[in-house]
């Protein structure tokens, strides 16, 4: 069944993709190196992202968290001069394979950006945008409501569905972006510091949301906030910058279940980073 067919089958608006199994891998990163032109930004990231779990990427600024995240749905294809050496395995195949269409990848792996970026359209049309792209034209009202409820935004906007999305507050805009991403029922949702541009109360809402959403989706989040990683993430991966040989190359230091990761970091850089952040 194609994705469009799967989406077109009401009334089960959310079809679980697979029975959640704790060890089931949604995405596997086998990255040898990522280059911007001649600059090697990231090396050696081997990471398994579990299905129906929240995985957090943490690390100091410039260590390549966004770069790694944007590899997972081929957003880096937009950057001229970007090169990837390695593999990103999704549904049993390498999404950087020549035969793979990046557009199809992005429809299965949605993204929420650091700056809320709703389209300059009404609230409702923001949510139906992706549905229409996928050829879904029936039950739009129900789907809009379902997506907005899923993003914990319905009660705040249900009377203003035709208002411009740009008139919402920053936190509401960010939840609208989440609603927009989940409306098409992707398998994986990538979030790049989704709370950095919004206030603490909205942040709390989005954190609760992530915990709720993982029943249906696999979530990967980049965050600068270690407390946040502790609160929402099932797994945590730490990237650090290698300054040897004059470069500034990010690499994966270690990863593991969040509780264990924070309780007993194995590597020295992780210990320092976690200790520094928590004083």
């Amino acid at each position: 069944m194609s994705q469009a067919e799967a989406l077109a089958a009401p009334p089960a608006l959310y079809t679980p993709h697979a029975a959640p199994r704790a060890t089931d891998a949604a995405v596997e990163l086998r990255l040898k190196s990522l280059h911007y032109g001649d600059f090697r930004a990231v090396r050696d990231v081997n990471l398994t992202i579990r299905r129906n779990a929240v995985t957090a990427l943490i690390g100091p600024s410039g260590c390549g968290k966004s770069t790694v995240l944007r590899c997972i749905n081929r957003m880096n294809d937009l950057v001229r001069g970007f090169r990837l050496d390695g593999e990103v395995r999704f549904r049993g195949r390498d999404i950087y394979d020549k035969a793979v269409d990046p557009v199809a990848v992005r429809r299965a792996i949605g993204m929420v950006f650091q700056q809320p970026n709703p389209f300059a359209m009404s609230v409702a049309r923001n949510v139906t945008f992706g549905l229409k792209l996928n050829g879904v034209r029936d039950h739009l009202n129900e789907r809009v409501e379902q997506a907005l409820r899923g993003a914990a935004l319905w009660d705040e906007v249900k009377d203003h569905l035709n208002k411009s999305a740009l008139s919402l507050s920053g936190g509401q805009q960010q939840r609208l972006c989440i609603a927009r991403a989940i409306a098409t029922q992707p398998e994986v949702i990538l979030m790049d510091e989704p709370c950095s541009a919004i206030d603490p109360i909205a942040t709390l809402k989005i954190e609760e949301l992530m915990t709720a959403l993982k029943a249906k989706y696999t979530i990967v989040i980049v965050t600068h906030n270690l407390q946040q990683a502790r609160r929402v993430a099932d797994d945590t991966a730490f990237l650090y910058v290698d300054r040897s040989a004059g470069g500034r190359t990010g690499y994966l230091v270690e990863s593991g279940p969040t509780a264990e990761f924070f309780a007993n970091p194995r590597e020295k850089p992780t210990q320092d980073y976690v200790a520094g952040a928590f004083g």
């Binding site: 749905n73 957003m75 937009l78 001229r80 557009v103 199809a104 992005r106 429809r107 949605g110 993204m111 950006f113 700056q115 970026n117 709703p118 389209f119 300059a120 945008f129 992706g130 792209l133 996928n134 411009s164 740009l166 008139s167 972006c177 927009r180 991403a181 098409t184």
Partner: protein, 298 residues
Amino acid sequence: MIAHDEPRARPAAADLNWGLGHRRTLLSAALTVVAGAMTVAAMVPLLSVLAMLIYRGGQRLTPQLFLALPPAAGMEGGGVGNALVGTLLMVAIATALSVPFGVLAAVFLAEFGPETRLAGAVRFVAKVLSGLPSVLAGLFAYAAVVLATGTYSALAGGAALAVLMLPTVLLTAEQALKAVPRRMREAAVGMGCTPTQAVWHVVLPAALPGVLTGVMLAVARAAGETAPLLFTALFSDYWLTRNPMSPTPSLAVLIFDFSSSPFRNQVEVAWAASLVLVALVMLTNVAARTWAARSAPK
């Protein structure tokens, strides 16, 4: 070295007083006055032309002006009805020809191949073309359309104006597209848009006000052009016929003809036609601005 830890005398509250006694205040006030005076001075040419047009052309601003044909030499009365229709028709043809080409070319320049050789070449040519004397645009349309079809026509006039409009439409549309924030593009692509869908559904709508401004600038220029119409559309003293392939009147050519006429009546009609032309340009401008402001994201 400045010693930061030396105790300083506590500044007096009087230091906060406003007064022209301070050099900075005096300078600032003087510059404000100069800038204001320059602004007023800049409006003098425009306002005096407008005042002149209203004064000389206003008396003939009657329904007859829009309904009657131009007066023959030595005759009284008459109007510019056919010339107004001809101008509207030719500007419409020019817009229909130049906007699709210009906007799609701008999409290529801004979105698909901004650094390609082709893009560099197109930009260069457009910039040269935008400085082209308008007579040459007429010459081009004369060779390409009039000679090919064997007749002066609205189509030839429209083609000449389109050549003049194209660079303005193209270059302003490119700038407008480039000004769309990167995050809008990322949002579209992140939703799974193909590059074409991203441009069509997200980037182009966001750039629409800027694109429209460029089109309006081009329309305003084209509506007033005389030289390229003289040997493409020519003129006609009659109403437009069903056949578009025949000489077509325009306000600009009428003004050109009548303003140097020895007959007082024809000179008066030329003034009235100028007023109509300016009003037309201003109206399209205001309409486009209103529309752009309304369609801009709030």
